[in-house]
């Protein structure tokens, strides 16, 4: 069984981003970039399924500029067998990304597509669901457990009230939540081996997908700052302030 794992290159989650002075966006110059954390979980899940003998081939894909090859190499160092870069200089939005992925799904016919539930830059949480709709596949979003058996996948999902389990026919889309697994680190020998694994570069035009967007970002601003308040000396003083000053209890 074949698994497609779409991943995204984003600002490292430890970086505190700053808004540019002209409010045109966030400053990404000389900022550390990394694989989106939810995508790492997706790669790890695919690798575990392969280790269990359920999966035979893992294909990592991304849509982005040349630099995104770095994250594809990381995915291959973690266990993906080969990878595809759909190269574009444009800032692709989820719908266009889903369309590009749909074109790759048509080409590769994976049984399962595993991807992160959201990227920590745009915080959209759309791509997996959109791909599922375009490809006519069922979806198991926000997964905390994935079991493949008898041509179906059972997905336990993290929902607001607790957990929900759904059973999906294959092919299906799964998006990963934080507690699905703990991703491994790539070992040095595997990093070396990944350099020899195949990385195919396709231009967006070859896939017949346009990255033009109907959504325009007019401006990006820093959020309203919260300033630190006061330190209280005792619990009694705290309770007094909450009752008489803040009037919240």
């Amino acid at each position: 069984m074949k698994v497609l794992v779409p991943i995204k290159r984003v600002v490292d989650y430890n970086v505190k981003v700053r808004v540019k002075a002209d409010n045109s966006g966030v400053d990404l110059a000389n900022v550390k970039m990394a694989m989106n954390p939810f995508c790492e979980i997706a790669v790890e899940e695919a690798v575990r399924l392969k280790e269990k003998g359920v999966v035979t081939e893992i294909i990592a894909v991304t849509i982005g500029n040349k630099a995104a090859q770095e994250q594809l190499r990381t995915a291959m160092a973690l266990g993906a067998d080969r990878s595809i870069l759909v190269e574009t200089e444009e800032d692709a939005q989820p719908l266009a990304i889903a369309k590009a992925l749909k074109a790759l799904v048509d080409k590769e016919s994976p049984d399962l597509v595993i991807l992160g539930k959201q990227a920590i830059d745009g915080d959209n949480s759309q791509t997996g669901q959109m791909l599922a709709a375009l490809a006519g596949m069922p979806q198991g979003t926000f997964a905390s457990e994935v079991n493949v058996a008898d041509g179906k996948v059972k997905v336990t999902r993290e929902i607001d009230g607790g957990l929900q389990t759904v059973e999906l026919s294959l092919p299906a889309v799964v998006t990963t939540d934080l507690r699905l697994n703990e991703p491994r680190y790539a070992s040095l020998p595997n990093i070396m081996k990944a350099k020899k694994k195949p990385l195919e570069v396709i231009s967006a035009a070859d896939l017949g997908v346009s990255f033009a967007s109907s959504t325009k970002t007019l401006k990006v601003e820093p959020p309203a700052e919260r300033s630190a308040g006061i330190k209280v000396a005792s619990v009694a003083e705290l309770v007094e302030k909450l009752k008489n000053e803040a009037k919240v209890i």
Partner: protein, 309 residues
């Protein structure tokens, strides 16, 4: 034209999150139609008709919608919402699950988690875990939007008298099935709706120690939340997580106990009106956003708090 709002409900009543979405719809402007989809959801549809500002309720009562499976609900909403100026749902795990499918079916982009309406086509939304706020303008003829409920007040649940129409559309895609669910049972208010939230972090040391927080919470009518560290350590279940990838809350009072204040946690609670931090590490970043900080061992402070409230 008009705005279609997808309602969340328990078959009898409309969930609070939907009332915030109605307020967002009012800010956009236009006739508001509420879609109630479920199995045996007639009473919920009647309740939706009473919400202030709603002009029509569509009730899609069919077994296919019983568990809000994304495949079936998205097909329904895409059909019911075709031609609407906007389709809105709360950015809960339900809305986040099916709405992007609706957008893809209609071949339009989605605008996720708006926190403000600037005009009918321009909205504000947080990006980078709330470290930046983007103002975005969308030119699609139908705008598919999820609404972060903390950005909008709740509309009045009473005062409206909309008509209720049955929507006899059965969309069963047949590719997914509900197996089961484990829902947290609690008499405490829902995290996202509570006026007071008390959250514990890694400093709680174990799940049993959360009992201290439950005791104080019950005296104050508060909900209890947790940081990701506490959830990952297995102290409490995932549905209690407050943060970028958990629940976003904005209560009148948020009490962070033994939480250091990682940016991912702050992203989930920094819009609270009053923030209290109790932590023994006076350098903890949580103090930078707290209105009232108490540097103390939580195992002394929480029992004392319990005795004083």
């Amino acid at each position: 034209m008009g705005i279609l709002v997808y309602a969340e409900h328990d078959n009898n009543s409309i969930k609070g999150a939907t009332l915030n979405v109605i307020t967002a719809a009012k800010a956009i402007g236009g006739d508001i139609t509420v879609l109630v989809a479920g199995s045996g959801c007639g009473a919920a549809a009647e309740a939706a008709a009473k919400i202030d500002g709603v002009s029509k309720v569509l009730c899609a009562d069919n077994a296919a919608y019983e568990h809000q499976l994304a495949e079936n609900v998205a097909a329904l909403v895409a059909e019911a919402g075709k031609g609407s100026s906007h389709i809105l749902a709360a950015a809960t795990t339900t809305g986040k699950n099916f709405m992007p499918r609706v957008a893809a079916l209609l071949d339009v982009e989605q605008i996720s988690e708006i926190v403000a309406v600037e005009s009918a086509d321009t909205f504000k939304r947080p990006i980078y875990a709330g470290n930046a706020i983007a103002t975005v303008q969308n030119s699609d003829s139908t705008k598919v939007i999820t609404v972060r409920t903390t950005g909008f007040d709740a509309a009045a649940a009473e005062g409206g008298s909309a008509s209720v129409e049955a929507l006899d559309v059965a969309k069963d895609e047949g590719k997914s099935a509900f197996v089961g669910e484990e829902l947290a049972k609690s008499d405490r208010p829902e995290l996202t709706a509570a006026k007071i939230v008390i959250s514990g972090g890694r400093g709680m040391q174990n799940g049993d120690n959360f009992e201290m927080l439950y005791k104080v919470a019950d005296k104050l009518g508060a909900a209890v939340g947790a940081s990701r560290a506490a959830v990952d350590a297995g102290f409490v279940p995932n549905d209690m997580q407050v943060g970028q990838t958990g629940k976003i809350v904005a209560p009148d009072l948020y009490v962070a106990v033994g939480i250091s204040g990682a940016i991912q946690h702050l992203a989930g609670m920094k819009d609270s009106k009053v923030i209290v931090a109790i932590n023994k590490d006076e350098e903890a970043p949580i103090f930078q956003v707290a209105d009232y900080g108490l540097v103390a061992d939580l195992f002394d402070a929480v029992p004392e708090l319990d005795s004083l409230v």
